[in-house]
């Protein structure tokens, strides 16, 4: 079997048409993980008694298991758990009408949350304790101190790591095909399977990922430069 380059050219626009699904997966999972990860980081940073223990165990569990295994658990256990819950709460809804992409959001955010929690916690720890105290002493509430003083600095410190996490997330979004979500990898699998030209269709996916990730990295770098300027002015 030779490599059929004509098929690659034919397949490329078809695969590219599913890029919005990949982007949707990435954006939604990143938003969920940013919110939950920041909350986790803050709880861990404050060392809240029981909650931080639970979160640390969760983080160790997620970091210690392959992402494939997490996807298995969601794939086999998610619908079943939802059915039970709907029965208990007396909700009349068909579990199997839920689109698989929602399960994929969950699967991708599980592991991304953990990495974000770690990155943000490192950012929080880089800030001087005195800033909290001085913020409180000029009469700000704790929420005001957090959102106006602490988080802007913590996220500036964590920014490069967050960029790496985003790139990692784009890469892991290719695993959503295991949950039968049709994004670029999933479509390439279908397309290649139909005519037994797996290699040619995956080549298209390969090129798309390279371009998408290069663009993401450039955007993150540009944003970092503007952010660093902001930090310099602040000093």
């Amino acid at each position: 079997m030779n490599v059929d380059w004509k098929f690659v050219i034919e397949a490329f626009p078809q695969v590219l048409a599913y890029l919005p699904v990949t982007i949707e997966l990435t954006v939604v999972a990143m938003t969920i993980s940013l919110i939950i990860g920041t909350i986790f980081a803050y709880i861990n940073f404050k060392k809240v008694k029981v909650a931080s223990q639970i979160i640390r165990t969760y983080m160790s569990l997620i970091r210690g298991t392959p992402i494939v295994l997490q996807i298995f658990v969601i794939f086999h256990f998610g619908p079943y758990l939802l059915t039970e819950m709907f029965q208990k709460l007396n909700i009349q809804a068909d579990v199997y009408s839920i689109k698989p992409i929602y399960y994929a959001f969950l699967a991708l955010s599980l592991s991304t949350t953990v990495s974000i929690a770690e990155a943000v916690r490192a950012g929080l720890e880089s800030i001087d304790k005195g800033q909290f105290e001085s913020g409180l002493s000029v009469g700000m509430t704790e929420g005001q101190v957090l959102f106006n003083v602490v988080f802007p600095q913590a996220f500036t410190t964590a920014w490069p790591v967050l960029g790496n996490i985003l790139v990692g997330l784009i890469k892991s979004s290719s695993l959503a095909f295991m949950l039968s979500v049709v994004e670029i990898t999933g479509y390439a699998r279908i397309l290649g399977g139909g005519v037994l030209r797996y290699f040619e269709s995956y080549i298209c996916v390969f090129f798309i990922y390279i371009v998408v990730i290069k663009i993401t990295e450039l955007i993150m770098k540009k944003l970092e430069e503007t952010k660093l300027v902001y930090r310099r002015r602040q000093c």
Binding site: S60, L175, F199
Partner: protein, 237 residues
Amino acid sequence: MRTINLSRILEYFLKSLPNLRVTLTYVFFSLILGFALGGLIAKGRMSRNKAISALAQGYVTLVRSTPSIILLFLVFYGLSAVTTGAFNIFLNSLPTVVFVIITFTINIGASSSEIIRSAYNSVSKGQLEAALSVGMTQLQAFNHVLLPQMFRNSIPNIGNTIIFLIKEGALAYVIGLRDVLGQAYFLSALDMNAYALDMCVALTLIYWPITAGLEKLFSVLEKKLEYKHVVVLEQKT
């Protein structure tokens, strides 16, 4: 209500655990070959020749922005297509684990080149010059002065790479590799996935202790070796 059955978990656990040797096989070979390739690429990136340096840089960028699963598919489907077309060599009889090792060698080659480069930069240049000035050859200086320090500095990164390999290698079940996860998935499929939850619990019980243990081991190792380093410095001054 579906319940978790302890004896079934134990059955999955005991039946998949022997396949840990498949996991360890590809971890071992990919690590060694990957770091060898990474050394070459790191050397290429630090080369004065602009073309070689650009080539190495391009390789790292390309591999780092490819998901492992796509790389796995490309190697699995592409390698045999290319060799059959170009050299008329059929690779169909090769064991699956070889494709997994090739994939992760390519993958680790890119990430380890960064590890090696940062380890090289962490050792001060004066040491190399001092070693050369006492009459060591370039190779001797590298082997006896730079390499031990580079190894010590990159221990946390090596640990992370091993853990990454154990976890990411589980993906290889999609091309039919029977490592721990592949074997458990196969067994679960024999039962029509009726007891998939028990399989997942058994797999968690295998993977979690291994990766958490390795993490602990490498952090202890790092501290032990760091201590020695400090003592040597103190004696000198």
